[in-house]
Symmetry: C2
Subunit: 264 residues, 2 copies
């Protein structure tokens, strides 16, 4: 990775990056994926722009599953939020530059990447995959599809059975530990039993709305680059002397494109 | 699960169950798998019987990877510990009642279960898989194979590239949150930077060495039972009204046989 040329990293656009600061400390940075859930992403940007999440809480931490925050029951939603949005659980494959990873997957015909996102596809549809750190939109039973006012992040083994059942909108790219190491909730489904156990959100902002000095400068390795191909091959066939038997394969959720703080 | 008859649960043998109590609270119970790594398991039982781990620490918590505890550098090892043990990274398939799960896997020809353990196999070899909560033996570079004096537990996306590269010896069956929610270490590979950040182990015992009243009474769903077949089918094809599109598949690390506290 250290040898990857600058051109093999793509800057994460501050317009589609969220910065969540917790009251007791901890900053979580999330990249959004408007190509996969444009209306949900637009909603979340409108919610962040109007400071919807400020003062709300992380309400649920279920071990080996998800952290959940926000409040889908709060009304009214700010203007600019489309409710209900369409069910953006998958999308046409056409128009996406899908690069297959090349290994079997239990759940999908093919897995691989689109513009540094983990993606699965079948004949003519494509969707983001529920991997560690992925960001999704909570919802109630169908026909609810969620507005974006309540979000979740995966903190365990990839719950791929949720693929194509919920709108995935992005990925945690920095500060994952501030979510994954939180105390687990002890009520059903990992909800915190008492309100004072909840973790308060000080602010959640679109990165481009932050002062320049406070704005994260992050790059993700371009999944179409030679460096990414080399990286994923070496993850599948570890050359390090520690290994006695290279796996010869990698799954899509173990091949999330690396993120770095932009040097300089 | 509530409908599963008593015969579909198998008692976890206290002779091959470990109970680790942390100094600041938290009990972790681990079931051992002597059929897959008999010498390593025998070593760990000898270490626990002589209170080897008492007063030692959790030294490493690497996000989305492993928690590590014990100390492989401490000498002398108690008598009864075979050092070095054989490299018990896989074993002959013969003699195991392997039940295939029936879905594709990125890493192995087949995945499924043997006596409620998650297992992969190829032509004539079988091995435990690196799933969330699995217990393994830390080692240095080859030819080291680890003695059992330093152990790790997986706390993230299944690192299946480690399969057949390390000795897996068991699985956390209760109290996983006491490991998975620990603060992440900030040194290289998630080691704690300062000794006082380490989490002290008050005691680690074979369950059968504990007073009867303090001994966990746990069952695991028998992977050869009708109840397990129904459970894993319903995990692959969720009948709940929440789902709009059943996955039609499940991966071996999402199909860990459920554990319960024995009723009565």
């Amino acid at each position: 990775l250290a040898a990857a040329p600058a051109a093999d990293w793509r800057a994460i656009d501050p317009q589609t990056m969220l910065v969540m600061d917790l009251e007791r400390g901890g900053r979580i940075v999330m990249a959004l994926a408007p190509d996969f859930a444009p209306v949900h992403v637009s909603n979340i940007r409108a919610l962040a722009a109007t400071h919807w999440f400020d003062g709300q809480s992380i309400t649920r931490v279920q071990d080996n599953y998800v952290v959940q925050f926000g409040d889908a029951s709060k009304t009214p939603l700010p203007s600019g939020v489309v409710s209900p949005p369409p069910a953006e659980y998958d999308r046409p494959l056409a128009g996406l530059g899908f690069r297959p990873l090349g290994y079997r997957d239990p759940y999908a015909e093919f897995t691989g990447h689109v513009a540094s996102w983990p993606v699965a596809r079948d004949g003519d549809r494509a969707w983001l995959t529920h991997c560690y750190g992925i960001l999704g939109v909570g919802r109630e039973a169908p026909p609810d599809v969620g507005s974006g006012a309540e979000l979740y992040v995966v903190i365990g083994q990839a719950p791929r059975h949720l693929d194509r059942n919920l709108a995935l909108v992005g990925r945690v790219v920095l500060g994952m530990e501030a979510l994954s190491a939180l105390p687990r909730g002890t009520a059903v489904m990992g909800f915190y039993e008492k309100p004072d156990q909840r973790i308060k959100i000080r602010s959640l902002r679109i990165a481009s709305d932050l002062p320049a000095a406070d704005r994260p400068r992050l790059d993700v390795l371009d999944s179409d680059s030679k460096s990414f191909a080399l990286w994923s091959q070496s993850r599948a066939n570890r050359p390090e002397s520690f290994f006695v038997r290279p796996a010869g394969a990698i799954d899509v959720c173990s091949a999330l494109p690396p993120v770095r703080v932009r040097p300089g």
